[in-house]
Amino acid sequence: MPSLKDIRKRIASVKNTQQITKAMKMVAAAKLRRAQETIVQARPYADKMREVINDLSARVELDRHPLLVRREVKTREILVITSDRGLCGGFNQNIIREVVHLLKNKEEGVETVQLNIIGRKGLEFFKRREYPIRKEYRNILGDIDYATATMVGKDIVAAYEAGEFDELVMVYNHFRSAISQNVVVQKLLPIEPDEMPEGGVLTDYIYEPSEKVILNQVLPKYIEVQIFRALLESIASEHGARMTAMESATNNAAEMIDRLTLAMNRARQAAITKELMEIVGGAEALK
């Protein structure tokens, strides 16, 4: 049985940890609120973009632009969005599990699957296991703005047009609520417009300067917007996941402190009883 002093030390240490997890939970909650606001603000643009893409692609032939053309898929790239920091429950594990599943179960005809990784946690995992990584981004998750997404988007579009891969899927955590995130696998390239309602002849647009120039601008932008949105979703999810994880860590610490306090009291009482017995025994002997 541990001594009274040991138990006291242990309680102090658990209390310390509890304070840290509590603070982390508060920080995550504050960051989550900010991240949620950003998502809400960014949504209209992403939705409008999708509408515009649908309107546009209903009016042009799919072979008009390289980003719309469907190629035979030999090389597939997976854009993996994880976090830089840990202590956020199953956030990264869920992503990694899904990606490993995609890596192991190739569809027919697909020869290689390569990775494009955002976030240190994912990078560490896949690097250690020597999976083929085409590209990695470090230290971009701290402060996400649209320029970050532009950078990633430009690179991806350039690589796709250069034929480095024939299809791109993106795996990220979709933010449902503070306590619930789910892993989403979204196909990004080639761009696939929603099904158009049958019938109804659409009038062609007048393009200014020209159809080609417009497509060259709009389509890459669409990719950027999708990446931007996924990054924001992922960040909000990360904070949500961390908040939940830290909440339960704090609760576990409280439970542990209760148990240790009980053990400590028991030990203290035993010590007192022992002392009393000794005193009584001593007095008895003097008679």
């Binding site: 950003t38 209209p44 643009y45 515009v52 309107d55 009038t203 007048i206 393009y207 200014e208 931007f228």
Partner: protein
């Protein structure tokens, strides 16, 4: 056909405006264009400039930089990289930015890699000032 149509202006960071308007003019990359209700479908890239929208006799302006406009017969969607309503513009900041950019441009040769960047921020600052000057 309705006389009014919906104008929506969005940027990656927020929804700037969504209102029924009578008329707009926008800075297309090839020159300014005007839209009334019932316009034929039209798609244009935008440069740096002012979007004017009119509701009745009330004219207002939005400073926009880059992006595109989709015009349908009852709706105009402007997807801009930057957009600011005339009332939101901080004139002092724009003026400061303009002076900075002007000073930098003097020191750079036209082939320097930052030249275009500075030129663009000069244009943006001047555009903001112009738009802000039109309010009231």
């Amino acid at each position: 056909m309705a006389d009014k149509f919906l104008l929506e202006v969005v940027t990656p960071n927020r929804l700037v405006l969504s209102e029924e308007v009578d008329e707009i003019t926008a800075p297309g990359e090839l020159g300014e264009f005007g839209v009334l209700a019932g316009h034929t479908p039209f798609f244009s890239t935008l440069g740096i400039g002012a979007v004017m929208y009119r509701q009745g006799n009330d004219k207002r302006y939005i400073a926009v930089s880059w992006g595109f406009a989709e015009v349908l017969d009852n709706k105009v969607t402007i997807l801009a990289e930057l957009a600011e309503l005339d009332a939101e513009i901080d004139v002092d900041r724009a003026r400061k930015r303009k002076e900075e950019a002007e000073a930098k441009l003097k020191t750079l040769s036209a082939t320097h890699k930052d030249y275009l960047k500075e030129k663009a921020s000069l244009d943006k600052a001047m555009n903001r000032m112009m738009v802000a000057g039109r309010r009231m």
